[in-house]
Symmetry: C3
Subunit: 347 residues, 3 copies
Amino acid sequence: MKQFNLALTPQKISTQLGGELILKNEVELTNVAELPEADDKSVCFYENHKYLHDLKDSKSGFIFVPKDFDIDLKPDANLLLIDKPYIHFIMLVKTWLELCSPKSQGNISGTAIISGSAKLGRNITICNNVLISDNVIIGDNTKIYSNCVINENVKIGSNCRIHPNTTIYEDTVIKNNVSIFAGCVIGADGFGYLFHDGIQNKIPQVGNVIIEDNVEIGANTTIDRAAIGSTIIRNGTKIDNLVQIGHNCKIGRNSILCSQVGLAGSTEIGDIVYLAGQVGVAGHLKIDDEAMIGAQSGVSGSIPKRAKYFGTPAIDAGLKKRIIASEKKIPEIVKYYNKINKKQKSK
Amino acid sequence: MKQFNLALTPQKISTQLGGELILKNEVELTNVAELPEADDKSVCFYENHKYLHDLKDSKSGFIFVPKDFDIDLKPDANLLLIDKPYIHFIMLVKTWLELCSPKSQGNISGTAIISGSAKLGRNITICNNVLISDNVIIGDNTKIYSNCVINENVKIGSNCRIHPNTTIYEDTVIKNNVSIFAGCVIGADGFGYLFHDGIQNKIPQVGNVIIEDNVEIGANTTIDRAAIGSTIIRNGTKIDNLVQIGHNCKIGRNSILCSQVGLAGSTEIGDIVYLAGQVGVAGHLKIDDEAMIGAQSGVSGSIPKRAKYFGTPAIDAGLKKRIIASEKKIPEIVKYYNKINKKQKSK
Amino acid sequence: MKQFNLALTPQKISTQLGGELILKNEVELTNVAELPEADDKSVCFYENHKYLHDLKDSKSGFIFVPKDFDIDLKPDANLLLIDKPYIHFIMLVKTWLELCSPKSQGNISGTAIISGSAKLGRNITICNNVLISDNVIIGDNTKIYSNCVINENVKIGSNCRIHPNTTIYEDTVIKNNVSIFAGCVIGADGFGYLFHDGIQNKIPQVGNVIIEDNVEIGANTTIDRAAIGSTIIRNGTKIDNLVQIGHNCKIGRNSILCSQVGLAGSTEIGDIVYLAGQVGVAGHLKIDDEAMIGAQSGVSGSIPKRAKYFGTPAIDAGLKKRIIASEKKIPEIVKYYNKINKKQKSK
């Protein structure tokens, strides 16, 4: 459960969120929890009848339930009958987190090493052992956590969070409200070689990476710099852990790349595209807006707008599912075919 | 080969392990090695006749061989005829490592930054540039290697090893005898967004990660904190490199997750489950005890106890193998089908 | 675009590279760029008519074009008509980078912690907060970037680049001209356990990792130490980001391992082998010289010289493609088969 250092009451919460309050006793709430682990200071939510048993057993101090909830199912509990309990629960958590987060004035650790040519905005926090190299520019209210390495000419906007042990290579541009979780590597060389005279000759990688506003990047993800030009992640796209983005890729707005996705070089992803876990995409392709690609798919050709694709190689998801449903018959059909084939040969 | 700073003799080794000693010359042993690289100070083992050639050529000073070994195959060598040579060889290596490992009194580097509110047990070692944040608790004999970042309220038990450049986020609980290899990220935000009003809205991730006793976690692996509640890895489970464990997953006891496995959120894995390399598991599923999933499988439904599954989507491994064996006939069958189909149409 | 701090002229470039110079105005060149982002100080190349539109719109100051280029397509531009424009462009970038890179005399940061028993060559650079442990040996002109951890007895040759936040475990041997990008973990324990008495018993991992000359290793890649013996990467092999190489693997010369490839233990890869993205290879196999394995393939058996394989399990790529092309017919064939089967049963 998540403890907050500020207590709320059911009355205060219902005043803010609306809904119908059913109060059986006075309570001070200090945490959010799942129903089974909750105590009398916990706020919880209940929406899916699959968890009715958890609801009945829960010691939660205050539970968000649907408007049409039968209150006899939990007669002694403090309840908030409200439209979309889960969404309102999330809204509460966000507000509560904000109420508890201290307004930072910024702080620069004495163990950080900061080039004299770096330009820092206001209220910046730079934690222990961070390296800020020459000509780096950092915007207001941004926080760089411990052991990050920020190379030459990197620009980071306002309200960003660069988590521990992350490396950001030279010339990377990061705009505003970007979160990069721990262990990421942004802007390392793209993977390009020409095989000539029996050896792999490195193609210089002299482009950069641009990450626009409101992007979030999961732990240990790698985004390579372009060979020339830029690798670009556009506004609002969210990238999970251990994802690989090859050089010169362009990712559109508000797309979702789940964990362990890999994009080869120069591929374009549109807006609001969904790539499920472990999807691989070959190079120089275009996945158009609002396309959805099923988990583990291998995309080997461009994909039209709003298409749903699945499989390796990825094809229309409906067709793929029909093929999968039919596959179990294949051994039997092959046996049958071999039999009639033998008959015909023996004729 | 692994050099030890303490020499052993064949006599000493056979006294400890048992077996029948055949000694051709006096020798001081100081390393363990594979047969081809061995020198006269090496201990080796031989068990599989595939390596008979390596055995004959080896300069090893002392070789563990099976009880029924024909000693004329290696007439001049010092041999230990013993049940299960490989297992006994591993036992020797373990003992030898322990004999050579100095009893540490613990040591706190002057470059580490440790909050005044952290509570440290006895004989703790904290290496260079480690950050230990507020309210962290660390048990006896635990070692935190260089450049690790340990956030607020983390609890780490006794006899743990947290290897370099690892980040452990706030509220994580790690019990005893846990090893976490370099570059891991434990407790970063889970990947959860609600698409609303054209943008991806972050669902706050306020749960934590709990890692129980005797768990081992490979390099650069990521384990996300729960949205609410806990992501849990139970006793004795071993996780390889570059594995992704999504928020709210629960992994049972003594399971094996090979490299590059990815688990989406809220999935449950039972005890003694084996997930081979690059397996992906969708969210909200249950893989029951002692199930085995073949490499690269994509698990899209729950899997019963002791089942062996394979493929994407994962199905019974025996059926999948029969389908694979039959697949090569598909082009021929399609051709045949098209022919008879054309005939029927032309009738 | 990549800015250089040294200007070149078209005359100087054509003198060095050859080709036919067509000069419309005097220009000082200070960057390389893609055609769309170029300005009048940019050098660009044009080779593929797919980008003719970009060429026509480009403001580039100097463009490499093929020998048979119709100069009326870009009448006002400074052009270099040359054999293989892209290759010559790459050669220019390499030369330009070298001209601009300062000759370093080496530099050891005061924040680095270096054991008294380490042996350092000439012109070595060791950046902030690096740890160099006992008995480490480092060759001339090698650069170790910030926050790297180099454990006991590691040997690193000359002209190597070890990028930030990388961990290199004890006994690893790295030869000359090796680049290891940020966040790599080299030499962590291999993943080996024996299931016995209901628990997973760790097999000690006491071998090491050997990386030969001219190897390049991408960001956040992990290469495990051998159980005994060595995990070996031979001359000139290039490894992309987030790759996993299991214990005791041997990789040959000048091979290419694309991103997210995973090799289980003890597998051998030959020379000039190409493993596309997300390929998985089971343990104890041999992939022979010049074999090519398609993306996401799962290799479950050894593969002969020069073979092209694809799929899970990987089979001859030609056959696999025929199977894939036929697969779409499967649902129809199954339907047909079920129909005739029912008829026969009902007879």
